[in-house]
């Protein structure tokens, strides 16, 4: 069984408080992810909204905040439209280090969520996906 947890770590030149705000503040989330309806806080549901192709406002990601330990740990369930509501778990770990903050992202449960027939089908059939990937590749250059 392959490990299906995605783990990524980045270093940010900002203190943990600033990073925390970017992860949880409804407006700051909009600067790099999608704007939220409300600040993320433990025990509450969240919805991040964006624009659909036709310009209407749609929910892009949603779930519930399971744990919110300021400047340290943020855990929420997470799904996106193509996952059809199947929930995965996203964990953010913050660690202040010399000159900034190390931020680790863990995304678990993707395989279980993808066990739903709808998922691979949706992925395969979302023609926008290829374009999306293309943009990502450009991004990496």
């Amino acid at each position: 069984m392959p490990d299906t947890t995605i783990v990524k770590t980045i270093f940010l030149k900002a203190d943990a408080e600033t990073v925390w705000e970017f992860l949880t503040d409804k407006d700051k989330l909009g600067q790099w992810f999608h704007p939220a309806d409300a600040d993320l806080s433990a025990g509450s549901d969240y919805v991040l909204k964006g624009k659909a192709d036709d310009g209407s406002t749609v929910r892009k990601c949603w779930g519930s905040v399971l744990e919110a330990k300021r400047r340290e740990t943020l855990v929420y369930t997470f799904t996106i439209e193509p996952l059809g509501g199947a929930l995965t778990t996203v964990t953010w770990l913050l660690q202040e280090v010399q000159g900034g903050t190390r931020l680790m992202l863990q995304h678990e449960g993707i395989e279980a969520a993808a066990g739903d027939m709808a998922l691979p089908l949706l992925m395969a059939l979302d023609a926008g996906w290829d374009a999306h990937l293309g943009r990502l590749r450009d991004y990496g250059k």
Partner: protein, 108 residues
């Protein structure tokens, strides 16, 4: 009729249709065979199948008097591609986060 990805989304937005896809993943079936698995009318199943066909999730061929529904296997991708999807998804997000934080620092 080409309804594009929105058609596929719409097709998958219904639990009965998702169940039909599950059934068809094991074998091709006629409308009658599909309908026998559900407690709804054959007409209702037929409608679901046309939505699936419009969403290009299934194809339909005629054999004798029957219309055989076939799951488009080419549409099915491995879980690993989902991992790849999220891998790239987060790379993009984290890059944006880094930029957003660094931009804010410059403004201060």
């Amino acid at each position: 009729m080409n309804v594009g990805p929105q058609g596929a989304f719409r097709a998958l937005g219904d639990p009965t249709r998702r169940s039909i896809l599950m059934l068809l993943s094991s074998q091709d079936m006629s409308i009658r065979e599909v309908a026998s698995q559900f407690e709804v009318t054959r007409g209702a199943i037929q409608k679901h199948l046309s939505v699936l066909e419009q969403g290009e999730l299934i194809s339909v061929r005629t054999v004798g008097r029957e219309r055989i529904n076939h799951l488009e296997l080419s549409a099915i991708k491995a879980v690993s591609e989902w991992l790849g999807y999220f891998d790239q998804y987060w790379d993009k997000r984290l890059t944006s986060l880094k930029q957003a934080i660094e931009n804010e620092k410059e403004e201060k």
